[in-house]
């Protein structure tokens, strides 16, 4: 004989159904009052109910304003406005890059006039390309070619030695 566990058997599902069976077998409380609780209904209430309900079903159209779609547009507009604002802000913050073209020639001249340049004539000659220079870049007075020729003819002994080639 086994020492642990008993040798008695129980029908299958016995314990599972025990509570249920017990509650079912509890003495049924005698009806304290008749099953009629005393509630009354107006005459013809149930006969008229259907029509009343039909009326309500037909008129019950909830007027719901679709706010959702407006929200979409609102958010779209708001984000575009924000983007534009940021773009403008970024542009304003940009410091314009300066170049020499932005400076007027007068300002450059004034600078050299007012400031003592540490550059000698030789330094300047090195920097400025001679090829691009024209005589009138350094001389203000515009002399006509005729006047120049007349001067040379009258003041130079050997005019022919100048080898002036006529461009004509």
């Amino acid at each position: 004989m086994k020492k642990t566990g008993n040798s008695f058997k129980v029908p299958e599902g016995y314990f599972d159904n025990f509570t249920s069976k017990l509650l079912d077998n509890l003495p049924e409380d005698a009806a304290i009052t008749p099953r009629n609780e005393g509630f009354k209904v107006p005459d013809s209430y149930f006969e008229n109910f259907n029509k009343k309900l039909e009326g309500k079903l037909e008129t019950k159209e909830p007027k719901v304003i679709a706010l959702k779609s407006y929200k979409k547009y609102y958010y779209a507009a708001a984000s575009i406005a924000a983007a534009i604002t940021i773009a403008i802000g970024l542009n304003l913050n940009k410091t314009p890059e300066l170049s020499f073209d932005d400076l007027a020639d007068v300002d450059i001249e004034n600078y050299f006039d007012s400031n003592e340049s540490s550059l000698s004539s030789y330094d300047i000659a090195e920097i400025i390309p001679v090829d691009e220079l024209e005589i009138y870049d350094v001389i203000d007075n515009h002399l006509s070619d005729e006047n120049v020729m007349d001067y040379l003819e009258n003041n130079i002994d050997d005019f022919d030695e100048l080898n002036i080639e006529s461009n004509e």
């Binding site: 509570t19 249920s20 509650l23 079912d24 509890l26 409380d29 304290i32 009052t33 099953r35 009629n36 609780e37 005393g38 509630f39 009354k40 209904v41 107006p42 209430y45 149930f46 109910f49 259907n50 009343k52 309900l53 309500k56 079903l57 019950k60």
Partner: protein
């Protein structure tokens, strides 16, 4: 009695929906009325809740999947509508649920549509003191004489729990009436 599966199909088909719904209302309006009335007590309130119940049923009929009986589903809607009604009533009056019950019982005494004698009134008072679940189970078992399996389907509670609830409810009512 029309077979349930067929009725559901007719309810969910546009061509047959109206007539099927009329049949549904005719079949269940009284049963649902009394179920609601036992919760809200007043006839006019019951009328409102009953209409709202059917309107909800109509609006949601297409989403009914047949996982439970049509009747159980409607009953569940009616129960929830009635309880919601009481909750919103107590919110409006800014008083608790037990106070609402007291108010309702007080109104019952002078209610034109209540012709119960003093014992029946006492019983209603006793039932009003029960917690919500016990009250529902008691009404459904004692007055509507529904089977536990049906109640289980509607309240989505196990049969065992329902039996225990019912037993507790009857004990409480008995004690209340004895005190009186």
């Amino acid at each position: 009695m029309i077979e349930e599966a067929l009725l559901v199909k007719q309810l969910q088909t546009e061509a047959t929906q109206k007539r099927a719904f009329e049949l549904l209302v005719n079949t269940y309006k009284e049963k649902l009325y009394w179920h609601i009335r036992r919760i809200v007590l007043d006839h006019d309130d019951t009328d409102d809740v009953l209409q709202n119940t059917f309107i909800k049923v109509f609006k949601n009929i297409n989403s009914f999947k047949g996982e439970s009986k049509l009747y159980s589903w409607m009953y569940r809607i009616a129960t929830n509508e009635a309880i919601s009604f009481l909750n919103s009533k107590s919110k409006k009056l800014n008083i608790g649920n037990s106070e609402i019950q007291e108010k309702m019982i007080a109104n019952l005494e002078s209610d034109v549509y209540f012709e119960g004698d003093y014992i029946q009134l006492a019983l209603q008072k006793a039932i009003a003191t029960l917690p919500e679940k016990q009250k529902l189970v008691f009404n459904m078992k004692y007055y509507q004489e529904m089977k536990y399996e049906e109640i289980s389907d509607i309240l989505e509670t196990s049969v065992g729990a329902l039996k225990a609830s019912y037993h507790l409810a009857t004990k409480k009512i008995e004690a209340f009436l004895k005190e009186d």
